[in-house]
Structure formats: structure tokens, C-alpha cells
């Protein structure tokens, strides 16, 4: 099963005709993701990898039923694309695009909140429920179906950890990236809640990083709810200096807020096992699952 996406997810790709959009559409199709249509303004009537392309989401949905969208539209236009999908009643939106202005992202999130939709990203590698649906740009071969739920603020670091889980024989229920921006649609707590309800998920891996206080709030949530499933975490950025953005717009220590130490301490005091190095995650998960 996994969370959010599965075999019944029918997808439109916004920005399907761009380099990234076209390339990843091919890979997603190869993975078995049910892509029903693409949207690129001005390219309506064409086809990409046998997928019909429309000028607007509205036009696409006149012909196809879809319940999710993945967005590859360039940053200046990406928020518009997200709003378009939301207004057309698409309720799961994966925004791959990075460098979306904060003001635009805030607008998208408020609208999504109003209509009760889920936005993954922006600046996310996407979401994969191994064996069922990949809605993102992550390499397919590093995942296999299983019982570990992964939620992350990162891209390649997630692949690093997912791959090592897979090598250790620990498959995944769903793996998703929240996105590396300061404003993202989902947070760890929401995902933990979903993983709690998901029967397939037996343990959760949480990959955090410096900046903001999502990890601290997650620790609080775990304590308050006596979260019933084991959680293993890795926090990137212990060596990061304050005041500098470490690649992700969201990865910045402001004054004394957002440090790795603060996050690690909070998680540990919530009973979460925090790995010292990425390669330690698989071992900790295995130990907890066998306990």
C-alpha cells in the first residue's frame, strides 16, 4: 500500500515537454507509473512518449481522469502550474521544480490548505511507493518493496540511505522527499501520521537537516503521541556554520536556531535512534525491526 500514491494514482505531468519533464516521464512510465496526460502551454495536440499533451490542465482533464500531478515547470511559472492543478481539483501535487520564489510557494500552500490538497515539495525528488508508483526523479533501482517508510528533506542523501537499506534487505513502503525549501507543503509530522496508519510500514526513517524546527516539532509530536512505530533519524549539517545556506534554501542556521545539535538532541530525547553516519541507518533500523 504505502502512503499517498499507489497503483491507482493517475498522473498528469505539467511541463512534460521540457528536458527534465520529458526525460523523467519516460523513466516514470518505465517504472509503471500511470501517466495519463501531459500539459505544456502552447504544445497542446502533440505527444511525448505516446502521452498526449494539452495546453491546460482543464483541457487534459476533459479527456482523462487524474488524481495527481507532477510539476517540472520552470521556477518562474511553477506556482501558476500548481495553482492550475489545484483549481482543477487535483489533490496530490508533486513539485519537482527548485528555486521557486518563497512568495509564490506561500500562495500555493495557502490555496492547497483551503482546498485540502497535498503538495509535496517544491524542490523535492518526489515520492515512490516501490513496485507501484514513482512520482519523482529518484533512481528506480535503489528501491524495493518493503516495510520501511522514508521521509526526507534531501535528494541524493535519501538515495544513499535508501540504497543501503535495500542492500541490507530492508525494503520500503513509501519514500518521499519533503523538499529542500523553507516553505514546503508537508512536514515530518504529517508524514509520520500517515505512516502510522499505513499497515505496511513497520518502521520510519527520517532524514532531516539543519534549518527550521521541523525536526524539533517532530520530536515533540513523537513524545506527545507516544508514536507507536520505531523511528530512526539522520540529520545532515552537524559541521555547518551559522548563517550560511548549505545548498538548500531551507538549510540555514539562523543565530542559534536550526542547528543539527538541537535537532539530534530533541529526537534522541523522544526516543528516536539518531545515526551518526548515513551508513549507520540501515543497521539501526534492522536492530529495531528485529527487537
Amino acid at each position: 500500500m504505502g502512503i499517498l500514491v499507489d497503483k491507482n494514482t493517475h498522473v498528469i505531468v505539467q511541463g512534460i515537454t521540457g528536458t527534465q519533464g520529458s526525460f523523467h516521464t519516460k523513466l516514470m512510465l518505465e517504472y509503471g507509473t500511470k501517466i495519463v496526460a501531459g500539459v505544456t502551454p502552447g504544445k497542446g495536440g502533440t505527444q511525448i512518449h505516446s502521452i498526449p499533451v494539452y495546453d491546460t490542465v482543464e483541457a487534459a482533464l476533459e479527456k482523462h481522469a487524474a488524481n495527481a500531478s507532477i510539476i517540472f515547470v520552470p521556477a518562474p511559472f511553477a506556482a501558476d502550474a500548481a495553482l492550475e492543478a489545484l483549481e482543477s481539483r487535483i489533490r496530490i501535487i508533486v513539485t519537482i521544480t527548485e528555486h521557486i520564489p518563497i512568495r509564490d510557494a506561500v500562495n500555493v500552500m495557502k490555496f492547497a490548505e483551503q482546498v485540502n490538497a497535498t503538495v509535496i515539495g517544491p524542490n523535492t525528488p518526489g515520492i515512490v511507493t516501490p513496485g507501484e508508483c514513482k512520482l519523482g526523479i529518484m533512481p528506480a533501482h535503489i528501491f524495493k518493496p518493503g516495510s520501511v517508510g522514508i521521509v526526507s528533506r534531501s535528494g541524493t542523501l535519501t538515495y544513499e540511505i535508501a540504497a543501503s537499506l535495500t542492500r541490507s534487505g530492508l525494503g520500503q513502503s513509501t519514500c518521499l522527499g519533503l523538499g529542500g525549501d523553507p516553505i514546503t507543503g508537508l512536514d515530518f509530522v504529517e508524514i509520520l501520521r500517515m505512516f502510522e496508519k499505513d499497515r505496511q510500514t513497520k518502521a520510519v526513517v527520517l532524514i532531516g537537516e539543519i534549518g527550521g524546527n521541523l525536526e524539533e516539532l517532530t520530536a515533540k509530536y513523537i513524545i506527545e503521541q507516544s508514536y507507536p512505530k520505531p523511528v530512526v533519524a539522520f540529520i545532515a549539517g552537524r559541521s555547518a556554520p551559522p548563517g550560511k545556506r548549505m545548498g538548500h534554501a531551507g538549510a540555514i542556521i539562523m543565530g542559534k536556531a536550526g542547528t543539527a545539535e538541537s535537532k539530534i538532541e530533541a529526537l534522541r530525547s523522544a526516543g528516536v535512534k539518531v545515526a551518526e553516519k548515513p551508513c549507520d541507518v540501515a543497521r539501526l533500523v534492522a536492530r529495531l525491526l528485529n527487537a
Binding site: 520564489p101 535528494g155 549539517g237
Partner: protein
């Protein structure tokens, strides 16, 4: 992108927010001319993009034009937290009754903007919040509804104002919010906004940080960032121009990787093994050989670098292409420092073959590679 105080004040003035009368001095010799147009006493302020400029001696006061000139000369000869003072702002000193704070920034948890007002100003807002949290008033802003006059008045009231001052102060809050939205500020603050002895309000200092991702909507400043003065070093500028994320650190191991999280974890792992990273450099997804070359050049331009660690996890990126890129780059840039390369993922075998044939040793484990590069760096 941080704006200089004088830039921020020019914008505030345009929006009708009172700021002290002043002028920009680009050479100490201009001070006299500018100061004589102002009323003494003066505040003379180094235009550098670092926080805590005041404490670092970057703000001086003078009662006369000659003293102002002396102060300016002094500032022009200073470095503040490592930053050279290239411009000085001289303005009329305000007779302060009270220093307040007002700013608008991002609330990540609420996915929103937040307006912050405080009856205490002049310090960093985090310090104020730490010392007197009850004095810091926050108001979440739904951008679809906006920040209205009444919101501004609510804040003005809560930091202790009433009567006509309430409306005037509120008006200034409202205007600052408009500046913030119009300029895509991820942080904008008047700190302090001063209640002068005559009861009027003046933004004595102003700080604007434009969201880098929105700079395409503010070409004037983008241009200034890339071509003119900024707080950025040559390496940082070169990185920005080439779409690389680069942060200078003070160790001796140069690091290059793909993906922000992975590179951070790489630095952490180096540190875990008691090594000291010289930088953070993320080449992003699907980097071309050219991009890898630029990355190497930037990292190696740091004289402290004794060894290089390239950590690539090929996902969508193919390892063979990365390998070719490294070879090409090595040749072009002429790398002589020792390199440790960790290369896994798509087309890993082919990538390893290419590098091994070129006598570059390739490792599979990030931890092993980190240990090795730390060893070399010692």
C-alpha cells in the same frame, strides 16, 4: 541577497517611511561636502553586509563636520568581520526616546509570512526574544488576505502605543510590509525604528534580504549582486554564476558532491573522522563536465585545500559521464592535489573503469573515502 543599509533606506523612503536625512560617501574626501548639507550631530556608518556591525565598531558618531570626516576616514580603513568597508553612510543622528523593532519574515512552520513587532529594538530580534520574549509580538499573515492597516495598529497597540502615534507607527508598519512583498523580501526589518524625542518615528536602520529565487523579478539587484559590490567572495560569485552552491569553510579538505544533503553529510562524515572540510560545494543534479571543472577550479582556488573529496551518487546522473567529466576537468584545471573519489550508482562499473584506467582510485563507501581523505589531509 542582502541589500546595503543605504539601498534599503532608499526603498523605504520611496514608500514614505521616514529615515534620517543622509548621504552616501564613497571616498572619505567626500564626507565634508555631504556632511555640510546635514544638521549635526552625525552618525557615520560603515556599509557592510554583516550583522552586529555596531558592536564591531562600524558605527561612529560626530558632533562636527571635521569629526565626521575623521570618523569616515577611520571606517574606510577598517575591516568589519573580515569585510572591507567600501562605502560609508552619513546621516543626521536622531535624538532617541525609544528604540523599537518591526520586521516581516517567513514562518516556515505555518508556511506563511509573519510580522514581528517589539517594544525593544536595536538588538538582533533573536536576542530580544531570548531576553524578553513577552515583548516580542508576532502576527501571522495570510498573503491572500494581506497585512491590513488594522493589523498594523494591533501591533502598534501591543507594543505600547495609542493616540495618533498608534496610527502613524501602524502606517509605517504597513508600508514596510508593502516593501517586503513588492521586493520579495525573505526578511525585512526596521531595527531599530526609533521614537524620537519629538514623538515622531524614524527607521534608524533597515535591513532587507531579497529571496534569491525571486531575484529574476528584481533585475536591478541581481545585476548589482553579480556585477557590482556585494558581500560575496570571488569563489562565491563564480559559484552563483555557474549555478553551484558553494560555502567557504575553514578546513583543508575540498569537497564536491551532488545534492545538498549528501554534501552536508559528507562534511559531517569528514568531521566525524576528525578531518576539517574546506568548503561545501554541491554541483546539483546531472552536472556536465564543464560544471565539474568549474567546481574543481573554485575549490582549488582556496590555498588551504590539501586534498579533494569528490562524492557522487549517480542516480539519474550516470557515473560514466561523471568519470569523464572528472578526467576532463582534471586535465583542464591541472589538479595536482590528491583526490579521493567515491562513485556509486547508475553505470558505476563503467565509471570506475574510466577512472581506474586514468589511475584515479575510486572507492564505493562514503565512510571509507572520508577516512582516507582525512588521513591524506593530516
Amino acid at each position: 541577497m542582502k541589500l546595503f543599509e543605504y539601498e534599503a533606506k532608499a526603498i523605504l523612503t520611496k514608500y514614505g517611511i521616514p529615515t534620517p536625512k543622509g548621504g552616501l560617501v564613497t571616498k572619505a574626501s567626500q564626507t565634508r561636502e555631504i556632511a555640510t548639507k546635514l544638521r549635526s550631530p552625525f552618525a557615520i556608518k560603515a556599509q557592510v553586509l554583516v550583522a552586529g556591525r555596531g558592536k564591531a565598531g562600524g558605527i561612529l558618531f560626530a558632533d562636527s563636520v571635521p569629526d565626521a570626516e575623521k570618523a569616515a576616514r577611520k571606517l574606510f580603513n577598517m575591516r568589519i568581520k573580515g569585510m572591507l568597508v567600501r562605502n560609508v553612510w552619513i546621516e543626521e543622528k536622531i535624538r532617541i526616546k525609544k528604540e523599537l523593532y518591526f520586521g516581516v519574515t517567513i514562518d516556515r512552520v505555518n508556511q506563511s509570512y509573519v510580522a514581528i513587532a517589539s517594544a525593544v529594538g536595536g538588538l538582533e530580534i533573536e536576542e530580544i526574544a531570548a531576553e524578553a520574549p513577552e515583548k516580542v509580538i508576532k502576527l501571522l499573515i495570510n498573503p491572500q488576505h494581506g497585512f491590513h492597516s488594522f493589523h498594523a495598529r494591533q501591533l502598534a497597540r501591543k507594543i505600547g502605543y495609542s493616540g495618533s502615534q498608534l496610527s502613524v507607527l501602524g502606517k509605517n508598519f504597513e508600508r514596510l510590509y508593502s516593501v517586503g512583498m513588492d521586493y520579495d523580501a525573505e526578511l525585512i526589518e526596521m531595527n531599530p525604528i526609533v521614537e524620537a524625542c519629538d514623538g515622531k518615528f524614524v527607521a534608524a536602520d533597515a535591513r532587507i534580504i531579497i529571496d534569491d529565487n525571486a531575484l529574476f523579478r528584481h533585475q536591478q539587484y541581481q545585476k548589482r549582486l553579480l556585477e557590482g559590490e556585494s558581500e560575496l567572495t570571488q569563489q562565491e560569485l563564480s559559484a552563483i554564476r555557474n549555478n553551484l552552491a558553494y560555502v567557504k569553510l575553514d578546513g583543508n579538505i575540498g569537497v564536491i558532491g551532488n545534492g545538498a544533503g549528501l554534501v552536508m553529510a559528507t562534511l559531517d562524515t569528514i568531521q566525524y573522522y576528525d578531518g576539517r572540510p574546506a568548503n561545501f560545494l554541491d554541483v546539483g543534479g546531472g552536472a556536465t563536465s564543464k560544471k565539474i571543472a568549474v567546481a574543481l577550479k573554485i575549490v582549488l582556488s582556496d590555498p588551504n585545500v590539501k586534498a579533494l573529496f569528490i562524492n557522487i551518487l549517480g542516480g539519474i546522473t550516470r557515473c560514466d559521464e561523471v568519470a569523464l567529466g572528472i578526467l576532463e576537468a582534471k586535465e583542464k584545471v591541472g589538479v595536482v592535489k590528491p583526490m579521493v573519489i567515491r562513485l556509486v550508482g547508475t553505470n558505476e562499473e563503467e565509471g570506475k573503469r574510466i577512472l581506474t584506467e586514468a589511475r584515479i582510485h575510486v572507492l564505493e563507501s562514503m565512510e571509507e573515502a572520508a577516512r582516507k581523505v582525512v588521513e591524506i589531509s593530516k
